[in-house]
């Protein structure tokens, strides 16, 4: 097979049975599916970010500023649902997992390509159902993304489409996870033993297990809400004998591990980027693998720390707080390992590296502030306040968002075969980073002062910090605009990228940019460790 032929049949130019957009939305190629996810997620992300901005503008001053309380409640609910179920949960696995997992383990595709395409269709269908809740009869749902009982039975708004949408999205998540597990088990290239697998696939493996084992629980819980609202079967409504706290148990049995569904792949991305730009192996590969699996496992049993004020038994509170502190350890190990990876490296200061390092910084703040929430006494004071919102955004937006942008810049040349404009990329990063800190840091203080979350209006003593926070939001949105415009422009007009612009050691850098339809002409035989830089060539 000649090289020129190879160039022609890059996955972007491939002509299959269908033409135009159908060549994409009916393609079973994992790379095209990854881009389908990227574009859908980016669209939802812009909507979600604007909703977030609207909330911050409302909170810039006490009282009504730009919207009614009813609208505000609908806005934070929709912001939560889109951001959680449509963006951060599928985010990294569906976009970068799909694109890179097969390539990084030396396979031509995932195990079940058609199932993979089905996942995307289910995702779009679920998103459509969830979003339809905004436009039907009784107005947008106003329960928050947690759908707590019994309020979710009492509100007259369109709960059902929102809940069903989340249920359907769960299916998509499960199918992706299932596909990844089988792919990793069955399709690793010859010679790639488990401990020769790069860390991003490892992270996806841990994530996939959580997706598989936690999502059904929230699925059935959401179905119970549907049954309770439509058929009046008593599950959680106290007037029918139910226990609203049990709803919280079931909800968090999923939704706490869901945080690890979000953050594990982000950690995987960082574990890829740091070695490449430090030009040395990741520090303590095995420790990172083990901590990935430990986080996935222990993370399953700490859900109760969302419920320390809900009225659980003292024993349960004790146990959950203890387990929560345990799960901090593997995350701490990872941070130490990442920092140690830079020691005696030869660091190239490129955009993905900036994103990765700022990830480290915000992740440390997010993780350390989590200690306040894991501890019983302090949790009670800051639970359900702006502190939780700040912590959560540092982990989920700070963690996943930064990792997403890091990944986007890092693998951009591989995905599009073009380079982004570095000057604009760095400018966008600086503005975004500043805006992010100005937006969320004051919320920690507001929370400790006692400002409850999901408040449309607040007492005067909170107003100063809220102004700062809202101005930060505006700045951050500017940063986002710069970043996104730069990437969109570069995908079309950027300079042609080399196969391996960063000198990355993993398999995806050993094939052309953009990859050919089936990734590899011949399945590679792996004999090296994943982060062995001895024979890596730039270019």
């Amino acid at each position: 097979m000649s090289n020129s032929h190879n160039q022609e049949s890059s996955y972007l130019d491939y002509k299959g049975r269908f033409k135009g957009i159908f060549a994409w939305i009916f393609s079973t190629d994992h790379k095209r599916i990854a881009l389908l996810y990227l574009y859908s997620i980016a669209t939802f992300f812009i909507v979600g970010a604007l909703l977030g901005l609207a909330m911050k503008l409302e909170l810039i001053a006490p009282g009504k500023t730009i919207m009614e309380a009813k609208t505000y409640n609908g806005v934070f609910t929709l912001h939560g649902i889109t951001m959680i179920f449509l963006i951060v949960i599928p985010g990294l696995p569906a976009v970068f997992g799909n694109f890179l997992l097969p390539i990084m383990i030396g396979a031509k595709d995932v195990s079940f390509p058609r199932l993979n395409l089905l996942s995307w269709w289910v995702y779009i269908f679920g998103a459509a159902v969830a979003i339809s809740s905004q436009f039907l009869g009784n107005g947008p749902p106003d329960t928050g993304w947690t759908f707590y009982a019994p309020y979710s039975f009492r509100t007259t708004t369109n709960m059902l489409p929102a809940v069903l949408g989340a249920f359907i999205l769960g299916f998509s998540s499960i199918l992706t996870g299932l596909n990844f597990i089988v792919t990793i088990h069955r399709m690793r290239a010859p010679g790639m033993s488990w401990l020769k697998m790069p860390l991003f696939p490892w992270a996806l493996y841990g994530t996939a297990w959580i997706q598989l084992l936690a999502t059904p629980i929230v699925g059935i819980t959401l179905l119970m809400i549907v049954a309770e609202r439509t058929l009046h079967i008593g599950f959680f409504d106290p007037t029918l004998g139910g226990d609203p706290v049990l709803y919280q148990h079931l909800f968090w049995i999923y939704s706490h591990p869901a945080v690890y569904i979000m953050i594990l792949p982000a950690m995987g991305v960082i574990s890829e980027i740091l070695p490449t730009f430090a030009r040395k192996p990741i520090f303590g590969y095995k420790a990172i693998v083990v901590s990935t699996l430990l986080i996935a496992f222990i993370g399953y049993f700490v859900w109760g720390h969302h419920m320390f004020t809900a009225g659980m038994s003292g024993t349960a509170q004790f146990a959950f707080s203890f387990l929560t502190f345990l799960v901090a350890i593997p995350s701490a190990i990872k941070v130490f390992n990442w920092i140690a990876t830079l020691y005696k490296g030869s660091i190239q200061l490129k955009t993905p590296f900036y994103w990765a390092v700022s990830f480290l910084f915000v992740f440390m703040i997010g993780g350390l502030s989590g200690l306040v929430l894991g501890s019983l006494a302090t949790n009670v004071h800051v639970h359900d306040t702006a502190f939780v919102v700040a912590h959560f955004h540092f982990i989920v937006f700070g963690g996943v968002g930064y990792a997403f942008f890091a990944a986007l810049h890092y693998w951009f040349p591989k995905i599009y075969g073009k380079m982004y404009d570095e000057g604009w990329a760095n400018t966008g990063w600086v503005i975004f980073f500043m805006g992010f800190l100005i937006l969320y840091l004051p919320m920690f203080v507001l929370g400790i002062m006692g400002m409850p979350r999901r408040y449309f209006d607040y007492v005067d003593e909170f107003s100063r910090l809220n102004i700062v926070s809202s101005l930060g939001a505006i700045l951050m949105i500017f940063g986002l605009i710069v970043i996104i415009l730069n990437l969109v422009r570069s995908a079309r007009y950027g300079k042609t990228a080399m196969a391996n612009p960063w000198g990355g050691p993993t398999l995806e850098w050993q094939i052309s940019s953009p990859p050919a339809l089936e990734n590899f002409n011949e399945i590679p035989v792996v004999s090296k460790d994943p982060y062995d830089f001895s024979n890596v060539k730039l270019g």
Binding site: H249, G304, S313, T315, A316, A319
Partner: protein, 95 residues
């Protein structure tokens, strides 16, 4: 990739034997509830049900003949579920 690691054919007789055992145990569990055992009835019924479902898993679902990995995963999933149940009861049984 090897597709041939499961060529074991289970004999009809084995299935028949397992089926008879399952049915016998079904009647045993029905009979047990006739006796007033109080709290033990719950435990007894669940133990019997677990035994029956292990038979189904082991023979009907071929776990006996599958590779180690699958057995490990089934065990892990059951462990996770039971652990979640126990942790939930940290709340309810100490209220």
């Amino acid at each position: 990739m090897d597709n041939k690691d499961n060529t074991h054919i289970v004999k009809y007789r084995t299935y028949l034997f397992v089926l008879i055992t399952l049915i016998v145990f079904t009647f045993i569990s029905v009979a047990i509830t006739g006796i007033q055992l109080g709290k033990l009835a719950v435990v007894g019924a669940l133990v019997l049900a677990s035994f029956k479902s292990s038979l189904v898993l082991w023979y009907f679902m071929h776990l006996k003949y599958e590779n180690q990995f699958l057995r490990l995963m089934v065990g892990l999933v059951l462990f996770v579920f039971i652990a979640v149940l126990i942790v939930t009861f940290f709340d309810y049984s100490f209220q």
